[in-house]
């Protein structure tokens, strides 16, 4: 089936800049296992040798990242020094499996939740993951219910650091100050006029 294989190979090149570079350097031989016709293989090799191929790869990565950044913006800032590496690892596992790219977002969330090394390296990640997961849960609920119906809804979570110092810079897409002291707070998150609103109080008075 040359046309399906040709499209599959082109998509794979766009999604993997490293492989596109190998095809650029090695030519048709790098595509030998794809069952392509000579013309299809020649076309793909020539595509990888055009400046636009690098742009294709960049745009595909940008498109894959957009829904992740939209859903987990604060977590992306918190793990920024390793964000690229985390994304590379996730995306190398498999291509996106839907045009709305939702599965990529779910897999990113799962990685944040389960990667103990990441949580150890970034001490605020646990708090921020919990905060954004609760905010997302409320936002997801608007799929089925109107914002007016949700006026009384809220989710309470506990954060181990002072939300005032943690959340304010992250709302401006800036990293919070390093080494904030542990100061547990209870945070109540609600949806007010279709926007997330948070209120908090310390669980124990500061010493």
């Amino acid at each position: 089936m040359p046309l399906p294989d040709f499209q599959k190979a082109f998509a794979a090149l766009v999604l993997d800049a490293g492989w596109a570079q190998r095809v650029r350097e090695e030519g048709e031989a790098a595509l030998a296992s794809w069952g392509l016709s000579d013309r299809e293989a020649r076309r793909l090799v020539q595509a990888t040798r055009q400046p636009g191929m690098s742009l294709n790869c960049t745009l595909a990565r940008t498109n894959r990242f957009a829904p992740i950044a939209e859903t987990w913006p604060m977590c992306c800032v918190v793990i920024e020094p390793r964000l690229r590496e985390v994304l590379d690892e996730l995306w190398a596992e498999r291509p996106p499996d839907g045009y709305q790219l939702n599965a990529d977002v779910e897999r990113f969330a799962q990685r944040l939740q389960t990667d103990a090394a990441l949580r150890e390296q970034f001490p605020y990640l646990d708090d921020i993951y919990r905060y954004e997961a609760a905010s997302n849960a409320l936002a997801y609920e608007t799929r089925r219910r109107s914002a007016e119906d949700m006026q009384a809804d809220y989710i309470e979570i506990e954060l181990q650091h002072d939300p005032a110092e943690l959340l304010a810079p992250l709302l401006r897409h800036q990293a919070p100050p390093a080494e904030l002291p542990r100061r547990p707070h209870r945070v109540r998150i609600a949806l007010v006029d279709a926007a997330i609103e948070s209120r908090w109080e310390p669980l124990r008075p500061p010493p």
Partner: protein, 292 residues
């Protein structure tokens, strides 16, 4: 929408207050219906999960202005995917909002097989006989399902295919005449391709059967890696306006000119920026329809 082409905008959530205002100056809205559902994929127990908030926004906007649909999920050029379920959903939305036509992209993002995957961007296929043979029966079936004209949007492409069997304009002319579909001519896509690949966009328009053009998109873009990109950032790119002026007297069946921008560009545009694009579109349309 009759007589002179109408002037409109591709709806996004940033526009809700603007569209609700009495003096928005718009004649129509184009809308991406895919924003109103989550697609869990072919074979999922519940394939399309409706999203209440964006649906309400779109319905609210549709009460004020005529809406045409601009789908992004069909991937009509995919060799192994022809998604009748998706088309049936588009048809239901077309009926629900009373749309005069539906448009889709002449490209592929979806890769079929046992487990469907995605390219994460719209990709153009070579202009070959094989693609015409694949597309014509699909497009005829799609028109039947939709029950209104289906317009095909010319693709943006950052790499060229060698040894294509026909030029892009011959390909589009064949597709429209053999399938009965119209064209959504995206002038920013054309500008981007012409700029990046060094051809004359007006010559390209002259080679096109412009009687098939029913809707035009105009948009903005950015430079990246030394190439112009179709980012839909900010106002209409300056180089696109002369293409609109060139096309308008040559497109007798053109019904709508639509400004597209990404909602992230709203802080660059605001209402005044959108109004300025609409006003300039109207000036172009009026100039083309002025008595000689």
């Amino acid at each position: 929408m009759s007589g002179q082409p109408s002037a409109g905008v591709l709806f996004n959530p940033a526009l809700i207050d603007f569209v609700s205002a009495a003096d928005h100056g718009l004649d129509h809205l184009a809308a991406i219906p895919d924003r109103c559902w989550l697609d869990h994929g072919i074979g999922a127990t519940t394939r399309f999960e409706p999203l209440l908030a964006p649906t309400r926004l779109l319905e609210q906007a549709a009460q004020r202005l005529p809406v045409v649909l601009h789908g992004i999920g069909l991937s009509i050029c995919s060799a192994e995917v022809f998604d009748v379920e998706y088309l049936e959903l588009l048809a239901a939305w077309r009926e629900r909002l009373g749309c005069a036509w539906v448009s889709e992209h002449l490209s592929f993002t979806r890769i079929g097989g046992a487990h469907e995957t995605n390219a994460a961007m719209a990709l153009a296929s070579p202009c070959d006989e094989e693609m015409i043979e694949l597309l014509v029966p699909r497009l005829q079936r799609a028109r039947q399902i939709l029950g209104v004209p289906l317009l095909l949007e010319n693709a943006v492409y950052y790499t060229l295919w060698c040894d294509e069997e026909m030029s892009e304009t011959v390909f589009l002319n064949r597709l429209t005449s053999e399938s009965g579909c119209g064209l959504l001519l995206d002038l920013h896509n054309l500008y981007t391709n012409a700029h990046n690949h060094g051809f004359d966009a007006c010559d390209w328009i002259d080679a096109l059967d412009t009687s098939a053009v029913r809707e035009v998109h105009v948009a903005g873009g950015d430079l990246m890696h030394g190439m112009h990109t179709d980012s839909h950032a900010g106002p209409v790119y300056e180089g696109v306006w002369p293409l609109l002026e060139h096309l308008l007297p040559r497109a007798p069946n053109l019904q709508a000119v639509t400004f597209e921008f990404h909602e992230a560009s709203w802080p660059m545009l605001h209402e005044s920026g959108v109004r300025a694009q609409i006003a300039r579109m109207r000036d172009c349309i009026a100039a083309a329809h002025a008595p000689a």
